[in-house]
Every structure is written in structure tokens, then in C-alpha cells.
């Protein structure tokens, strides 16, 4: 079978888009009989946070499509609402990470000299930390809100885009059109933002799906450790950790968030492979 990057990008992108879509529509898709915007009946008529102690650990069936967890909460409803934490943290972290990395990389590439060495040193230092370790350590000191986690994840993951943008900026800064701009009296700031950054951004943007996938994994790992967004917000990582206790009798509690996480990261990676023109393997 012959595949081109384009034919592989389409299904991956479609699958990946599903997650923010579900996250956005979660309040409409799953809510209890009373709650919910507009008084509409939800396709998943269960509240993600409402415990029902008479319906604990029910297997998947007509009432609860993916079963219930150890507190009798609907697994599908929690899965849908959990997408909000994963996509929210993931997208925010990826955007921050690429913005900071691109800025630092372009600055290093354009300024050269001591600035360049300084940025490279910082890149080296930050890359010395396994992301999850630094983020977990940060979680000990900062209040565990979704935004905090996104900032911590971005703080550990910006060096990759910084390296990519720096390499590109170093080439661009020697291009004739930059010389022309400089001869025309453009300031250093103008050259950086107007002439170099737009052209140097492409390789970093192509890796955005990878950054997103890694951010989602780090957030899930943090939640799995119990250091992520605090309950009652449903999160996939925490759901997996909670499911460990009842793994023998209720595999569905673990399978649902595990599958969601896996598909999210897989589609992100596939899209990244297609965008950066990398074959599989």
C-alpha cells in the first residue's frame, strides 16, 4: 500500500480534532436530568460528578454505555468531561511551549554571540530534567490548577522548538532580504519579528502535534500520580489510578481512559509525522 504524508495526515487530523470538539461540547453531551444548558436532554444522561452508590461498578450496558466506576458514576460521562482537562492543558502547554521556544530560538539565532550561548546553555539545563520529574516537583510548590500544570509542562518542553527555530533563524539572518532590511534602517526588533521569526517558525509549528501529545501524556502522568488537577474535575490519569483498585472486577474503568489517552496521543503523533514529512518507524 502506498501512502503519502497527505493521505496519512487526514485521518489523524480528523481523529485529533475530535478531542477538542468533545471537550468543547462536553456540557451538552453529558449532563444529569436537571443540569445542562438550554434544558436539552443530553445523549449521555448522566452527571459526571454525581455518585450513585446503588449503581457501583456496573458493567457496560444499555443504561451506562461504558459502565460505572467505584462510586457509581457514569464512565462515559467522566470520559467526555475528562477531555476538557486533557485538551485544555495540552493545547495551552503546546501553545506556550512553542511561543516561548520560538522567541528564545529566534532571539538566539538573530543576536548570536553571548545571547546565543546563554540561550543554548539554558536549553541544555532545562533538557537535563525529565519533564515529568520537573513538573511533579513543581506541583509540590504551586497550587494544582490546570493553568499551573500547563505552564510547568511548557517550561520543560520549550527547548525543542527553541533549537529548531534557532537553526532556521541562523540561516535566515544571513539572507539577502534581511541584509536589505538592515540597510533600509530596520531596527533589530523589527528584523527579529518581521523578517526572521515568520520564516523560522515553520519547523517548530510542524512539531506542534508532538508537543501536544507529550503535554497530554505529562498531564495524564501527573494526574495518575495524584498531583494533577484536583477532584472533582474528572481527569483520565486520575481515573486510571483509581481504577487500579477495582481492576479485577471492573476492567472498563481502566480501559476507557486508557483508550482515550492512547488514541489522542497516537493521532497527534501521526499528524506530527505527516507534517514533519517523517516516515513511520
Amino acid at each position: 500500500m502506498r501512502t503519502t504524508p497527505r493521505t496519512r495526515a487526514a485521518p489523524a487530523a480528523a481523529l485529533l480534532l475530535l478531542f477538542p470538539l468533545v471537550a468543547l461540547l462536553a456540557p451538552l453531551l453529558a449532563h444529569g436530568p436537571s443540569g445542562g444548558p438550554g434544558g436539552l436532554r443530553a445523549p449521555i444522561p448522566w452527571d459526571p460528578g454525581e455518585p450513585d452508590l446503588d449503581a457501583r461498578l456496573r458493567p457496560p450496558g444499555a443504561d451506562h454505555w461504558l459502565g460505572t466506576d467505584d462510586l457509581g458514576r457514569d464512565v462515559l460521562a467522566r470520559l467526555v468531561h475528562g477531555a476538557r482537562v486533557s485538551t485544555g492543558v495540552g493545547l495551552l502547554a503546546a501553545a506556550l511551549s512553542i511561543a516561548v521556544g520560538a522567541l528564545a530560538g529566534a532571539l538566539a539565532g538573530v543576536a548570536g554571540g553571548a545571547t546565543d550561548r546563554g540561550v543554548l546553555f539554558l536549553v541544555e539545563v532545562v533538557q537535563a530534567f525529565p519533564p515529568l520529574v520537573l513538573v511533579a516537583a513543581g506541583a509540590a510548590f504551586f497550587p494544582p490548577a490546570a493553568a499551573t500544570i500547563a505552564v510547568l509542562v511548557a517550561a520543560t518542553s520549550w527547548p525543542d522548538s527553541a533549537r529548531l527555530v534557532r537553526a532556521q533563524a541562523r540561516r535566515l539572518v544571513r539572507a539577502p532580504f534581511v541584509d536589505a532590511a538592515r540597510a533600509g534602517g530596520a531596527s533589530a526588533t523589527r528584523i527579529l519579528f518581521r523578517h526572521v521569526l515568520p520564516g523560522a517558525l515553520a519547523p517548530a509549528l510542524a512539531t506542534a502535534p508532538y508537543v501536544l501529545g507529550a503535554a497530554v501524556l505529562t498531564e495524564a502522568g501527573l494526574s495518575f500520580l495524584g498531583l494533577g488537577t484536583p477532584p472533582p474535575a474528572p481527569s483520565w490519569g486520575r481515573a486510571l489510578a483509581d481504577a487500579r483498585e477495582s481492576l479485577g472486577s471492573a476492567w472498563w474503568c481502566a480501559a476507557a481512559p486508557a483508550a482515550a489517552l492512547f488514541l489522542f496521543v497516537l493521532s497527534a503523533r501521526r499528524l506530527g509525522d505527516a507534517l514533519s514529512g517523517r516516515g513511520r518507524g
Binding site: F121, L122, E124, V125, V126, Q127, A128, F129, P130, P131, L132, V133, L134, A136, A137, G138, A139, A140, F141, F142, P143, R163, G213, L217, A220, G221, F224, L225, G226, L227, G237, L240, A241, A243, R244, L247, G248, W251, A254, A258, L261, F262, V265, L266, R269, R280, G281
Partner: protein, 320 residues
């Protein structure tokens, strides 16, 4: 050569100091008083009295200016003195040293497993691109790059621990290999994807080189060709080894928690929970140091193997 190695060692040292400063900055930038946090027992959730907080601050030297604390922190950390745990008052270094052998053994076994499975798979994949082995290696990459260690581990736990009952559901080192098989396999599978991918790419390149063609013309067999290609890939493989360290460290944190292994990763998670600031800082430094040292050693060995690298400009730890 010697000068290049020395320069690399100095760069690693500078990075280590940078690691110490970053960890200290993390502590200083954090809102709230670590003393008040540490004294507020989770169970009682009642703020400590101001006198108790002041006494605590004095006992742990938290009442000095930040610059003084930074210098003394770097100086003491260089001697592996991370202070005493807020938890039990024992030296942090001793607490970490107790757990390191467990985590090291776990990761070494996992790495051996990943190599034992990954190198033959990659060799088979590289010999016939697009063949059955190559498709299997692609599946491995898709599966284990996208499934985090705690997802793979939970799946293994469900099948082998809960359903089949072959292994205990928590790690039990007293039971020998059976007791620790699941955490080792989980970590090994996480390392399998990068090992297979990098080894396959290296072998493909080396097998396509003119030297390989010449050897084939001389009548070199297939096994000998793969061995030669592996030897020619020593430098990127060293870089792979160094790049696996951060992944294994992060994986250990999750896997040790999943299987309740009393290792370094578990200690980190526990210390974060307990707001045990000195332990968290010490563990973060140890993790960072492990990565820096691994990367420097890989670069040094690469320079010895391929003297051209010592002269050229190559960014450390960069996978080819």
C-alpha cells in the same frame, strides 16, 4: 582529543550548576512559605502556630536571605548534602541512596530487555524494509510511543496479575523474578519503541553504505553484515542510550507508583505529596544529574570512537 573531552566535562559541570540554580529558583518562585506548608499536617489541615513556623524556619535555615541560601545550597548540593527531610528528619541523601539501587536494577533489567527484543527486531526490519518484521516494528513504535508506561502497565497488570494470576499485583522482590517481572516488562516496553526505531534507522543507513556494498561483493554473509552495520552505528546508539535516560527516569516514577516499588520514583511522588521540600529538591537534582552525566559520558565515548566528533561542532545528546 583530551582537550575536547575536558571541554565536554566542563560543559557538563556548568550544566549541573545550572540544574542546581533552576531547582533553587523553583523553590524560591513558589508562592507560600515552605515551612508553613510542611508543618500543616495533611490529616489535620490546620495552620501551624507562628512560633512553630519561626522555629522551623530557623532550624532549616529558611530565615536567611535568598542569595545566601542559593550559594549555600549549591555548595552543599555539590557535596550531595541536601539537608534533612521535613518528613522524618533523616538526611535526604541517605533516603535517596536507599532507593537508588532498586530503581537502577529495575531500569537496567528493562534496558537489557528492550535491547534483547529491539535489536533483533530492528535487524530483521532493516534487512527487508516493508516486510513482516518491518511492519511489526512499526506497530511496536505506534503502540508504545503513544501508550504511556502507566497505561501499558495497567494492561499488563490486568492480564497477567489479575486475570491469569501469574504475577503478584504489587511488586514483591522477595518472590524473585516473578515478583518484579511486570514493572520490568512495562519499563522495557516503553524503551522498546525508541530502541527499535533508532537501531532500524542506523542499520538501514549503514547497510546502504558503499562499505556494506563492498563487503557484500567480497562475499560477506548477512549476519556478518548486520554485525558490521551495528558496529558502524555505535555513535548514534550511544546517543540513543543517553536519550533514554530521561524517559526511563520519568517512566520509573509512574511504574513504581503503579506497582508500589519502593524506589526513587516512588520516593519523589511521596515527597511531593508530603511537601517534603528538601527531598523533592534533592531528587530533582539527582534526576537532572543522571541525565547530564549520561549525556556527557555518551558524548565522551563517541569522541573516543569517532575522533572527528571531537573537532566538529556537535550538540550534545542530539540523536542522529
Amino acid at each position: 582529543m583530551l582537550r575536547a573531552l575536558l571541554r565536554r566535562a566542563l560543559a557538563a559541570l556548568a550544566t549541573l550548576v545550572g540544574v542546581l540554580v533552576v531547582v533553587f529558583a523553583l523553590l524560591s518562585a513558589a508562592p507560600g512559605d515552605p515551612a508553613a506548608l510542611a508543618l500543616r499536617d495533611g490529616a489535620r489541615a490546620r495552620p501551624a502556630s507562628p512560633e512553630a513556623v519561626a522555629a522551623f524556619r530557623a532550624a532549616y535555615g529558611l530565615d536567611r536571605p535568598a542569595a545566601v541560601r542559593l550559594v549555600s545550597w549549591v555548595g552543599r548540593a555539590a557535596r550531595l548534602d541536601f539537608g534533612r527531610s521535613f518528613r522524618d528528619g533523616r538526611p535526604v541523601a541517605a533516603r535517596i541512596a536507599e532507593t537508588v539501587p532498586i530503581t537502577l536494577a529495575l531500569n537496567l533489567a528493562a534496558l537489557l530487555l528492550a535491547l534483547a527484543a529491539g535489536v533483533p527486531l530492528a535487524a530483521a526490519a532493516a534487512r527487508r524494509p516493508g516486510g513482516a518484521a518491518d511492519r511489526l516494528s512499526g506497530l511496536v513504535a505506534d503502540l508504545f510511543f503513544s501508550a504511556p508506561a502507566f497505561v501499558t502497565g495497567t494492561a499488563l497488570l490486568l492480564v497477567f496479575g489479575v486475570r491469569l494470576g501469574w504475577t503478584p499485583v504489587l511488586a514483591e522482590p522477595e518472590e524473585g523474578l516473578r515478583g518484579v517481572a511486570l514493572p520490568i516488562v512495562t519499563l522495557g516496553l516503553a524503551a522498546l519503541a525508541p530502541v527499535t526505531r533508532v537501531v532500524r534507522a542506523c542499520l538501514l543507513e549503514a547497510l546502504a553504505s558503499p562499505a556494506a556494498l563492498a563487503a557484500k561483493a567480497r562475499g560477506e554473509g548477512e549476519a556478518a553484515a548486520v554485525l558490521r552495520a551495528l558496529r558502524r552505528s555505535a555513535v548514534p546508539l550511544l546517543a540513543l542510550g543517553a536519550s533514554l535516560v530521561p524517559q526511563l527516569v520519568a517512566g520509573s516514577v509512574l511504574v513504581e507508583r503503579l506497582f508500589a516499588v519502593p524506589g526513587t520514583g516512588q520516593l519523589l511522588a511521596d515527597s511531593v505529596f508530603a511537601r517534603d521540600v528538601p527531598s523533592v529538591l534533592g531528587l530533582t537534582v539527582v534526576a537532572g544529574a543522571a541525565v547530564v552525566v549520561a549525556s556527557a559520558v555518551a558524548d565522551g565515548l563517541s569522541a573516543v570512537l569517532d575522533p572527528r566528533l571531537a573537532e566538529g561542532e556537535r550538540e550534545p545528546g542530539e540523536a542522529s
